[in-house]
Symmetry: C2
Subunit: 447 residues, 2 copies
């Protein structure tokens, strides 16, 4: 009997991270890292796991969106589904009624990504390989077949993508060996949350250098005087050689971004991340022109490959920051990796939150082995929060991600966590904590 | 006692329009025009109505998103709310947790728009004025205060917006008189749905001309041979002087759009609408350069003012098509009207569906009276579907919208309709019709 997807379960899981100001930045003063967690089950008892990352309120909408899309997955034959997740991705993104709510953006797009990633997790488990290895073992033709080129051909055609992948193919085996031996570079955002005091900032900066990082990141954009003081502390703590990226989380308009960053330039910032609206391609291009040689980075909120395409066409970014859970899953991220390779722009994935490190490491490692073929100027963000909740957590040492070896996409959350952090009725949200998750009256205290 | 918002009710209302192929286009073969309908009620018994327009599946997500945002509205003092809906708009769009699901796009943004529009409806009822008149009676300073300029200042500053509005102010009274006497130009899409046969197309084209329209619109992009034949039929039916716009509803990539439209150029199309992804600013600019003097139009899926800003900055569009229910309501559309005026690009609102004509006419009429001061090269889309369900339906005569005079934003749906079309349990969806709303296996028949 044909094995089929028998169910799609989805769960609202929230971690009360706002209680300690972990993850606080200029636009997200009180995030509760959360997920609409997705589990596909098959008639033969196999599973695929995925998640839609969120920061608290609204997770119920991601859960609802997964449920709205689930009928397009349930009942599908597993062999066909895992042989061509791109077909599912196109159906989910292209549903002629649901696409009105995007198209290809927002909650419905992120939900599609959660489902598509869960199918890739299932495929990788079935193949007995970590996802990065499954992808790196696909032929250039198979990889190109997984991308929807409809809106991309003015920047990247199927033939150009094939040529890129074929050029990289002969070196795959050697790079896989290097990856397994040496891992993939990481950078850390742990020191730099806005909610931390100066003493904690300095201490965490020193610890990051001691742990082997040569790139750290600080949140900025709350208050200029504070930023000047904090960057001074950080620069003194890490010395002149360790790179310090800064991240404004979209707080500025274009003129503000340019003005503010000119005040911070003396601390030699490596990149400015999310200086303005993630939708503002032309704004990023203007900021980049004004601030060079400071690099411009964005991507964690870039909602689809069409916007990444334009960021590259307009020479608006120096660093492409893919996110595992923003776009419609592995397939659309594959498109972005190919676009970045075509334009010669390095990819430094966004991670942190909950599960983002676990998922996105597979894409960066696949990129190294089979697409860009390089780790130069590349690093995956790392934040040391919440990894203990994963069955196959990331492994970091010497400032590098170790390549996962467990089959799948590392998305599975441990069962106890799902019970404890289920919102709003898990024990971690008991005693009325769930009622205290409304927006604070003022965010003045974040400065 | 202070009057407050006592409740936000929202309802899933769907019209089974797909049964007759009304509204069929290249990307929406079987739309069921729908709405997440929003009713605010106050402690004094007043009401404000709004809606989030959708095309069927997924309406439940718009309803859920309104419910997720509703706690930010319930309990608010009515006088403060209606004196400054911009403050609410900023809070809804800026919620530091929910914005992760956008930001400023997709379901959460559309839901914010439904709520903000309902507040404006309440404000206009309270003032005893149709919304266009309420807006047109605000001072330039009040109007500028209703716009969030955070991401717009590189294209339009507060001072520039003030100057625009002050320049238009002296002519307001005279233009209001003209509007009330003559109405506002309309164009019709009624003839041009892809699902209609040639005979019906020709007949509806002739009827449109007879009814006084000098601009009609045809859907294209299903099949080139069919499009050539259909445009030939339409051009013959309407003669050389009536303008024919065409609408591809995002079916093409950039090179396809240019190639396909070169084949249709001989029929003198007035504009090509949505030639590609609504996110592709640079793509629209390339298409416009390649196809001039054929105009390029887009906007019904442009998700926020930042993207409209770039379309104008990049000289990517000749026609800005605002939609009443895509962005975060009246406030964000006010930003778009100001941007369009600054760049001297006419606004021709998208309408049709259910309720879009009713709502958006207010914005176009306000634009004429107080912003652009012109109806030249401007027209509001008109489709003669579903108006009977509104308490204050649009009035069309001689190819023109008559200015509404009933207080409010014309968003209120009649009570019987809400009962009959409620999804999935209203009588119109009884006998299992709701179960037949899944995507058809093939869309081949749309050609």
């Amino acid at each position: 009997m044909t094995e089929r997807i028998s169910s799609v379960d989805t769960l609202d899981v929230r971690f009360p991270t706002s209680r300690h100001r972990d993850g606080s930045d200029a636009m997200n003063p009180f995030p509760d890292y959360s997920a609409a967690y997705v589990v596909l089950r098959t008639t033969a008892g196999a599973e695929g796991h995925g998640l839609v990352f969120t920061v608290g309120r609204g997770t119920e909408l991601a859960v609802a969106a997964v449920r709205s899309l689930a009928p397009m997955v349930v009942g599908q034959p597993v062999d066909e589904l895992i042989a061509d997740p791109g077909e599912l991705s196109r159906r989910l993104v292209g549903d002629s009624q649901i696409r009105w709510l995007g198209p290809a953006k927002g909650v419905v797009h992120m939900a599609a990504g959660g489902l598509v990633n869960a199918v890739w997790d299932l495929a990788a488990r079935r193949a007995g390989k970590p996802l990065w290895k499954l992808l790196a073992d696909l032929t250039p033709e198979q990889l190109v077949g997984q991308v929807d080129f409809r809106y991309l051909r003015d920047a990247l055609t199927e033939d150009e993508a094939l040529a890129l992948l074929r050029t990289a193919a002969p070196g795959r085996a050697e790079r896989e060996r290097i990856l397994l031996a040496e891992g993939y570079p990481a950078y850390t955002t742990t020191p730099g949350w806005l909610g931390y005091d100066d003493e904690k900032l300095a201490r965490l900066c020193r610890e990051a250098v001691d742990a082997g990082y040569d790139l750290i990141k600080l949140k900025v954009g709350g208050d200029l005087t504070d930023d000047v003081r904090r960057l001074g502390i950080a620069r003194q703590a890490v010395g002149p050689k360790v790179r310090i990226a800064v991240d404004a989380n979209q707080i500025w308009g274009v003129p503000d971004a340019i003005g503010w960053m000119r005040e911070l330039r003396r601390f030699d910032p490596y990149w400015i991340e999310e200086p303005t609206s993630p939708d503002d391609v032309l704004g990023h291009a203007a900021i980049r022109r004004a601030l060079a040689p400071v690099k411009v980075a964005t991507g964690e909120h870039v909602h689809n490959a069409v916007v990444f395409k334009q960021l590259l066409q307009a020479a608006a970014v120096d660093v492409v920051q893919i996110d595992a859970c923003r776009v419609a899953g592995v397939n659309e991220n594959l498109a972005v990796l190919l676009l970045a390779a075509k334009f010669g722009v390095p990819v430094c994935p966004h991670a942190g939150g909950v599960g983002l490190c676990e998922l996105v490491q597979h894409l960066a490692m696949f990129d190294f082995v089979a697409v860009s073929g390089s780790t130069e100027d590349r690093a995956i963000e790392y934040v040391d929060h919440l990894h203990e909740h994963f069955v196959d957590p990331v492994r970091i040492s010497g400032g590098r991600y170790r390549a996962p070896t467990v089959p799948g996409m590392s998305a599975e959350i441990v069962a106890e966590t799902l019970t404890a952090y289920r919102f709003p009725d898990g024990p971690q949200w008991a005693d009325g904590a769930a009622d205290r998750t409304t927006e604070p009256a003022t965010t003045a205290e974040i400065a």
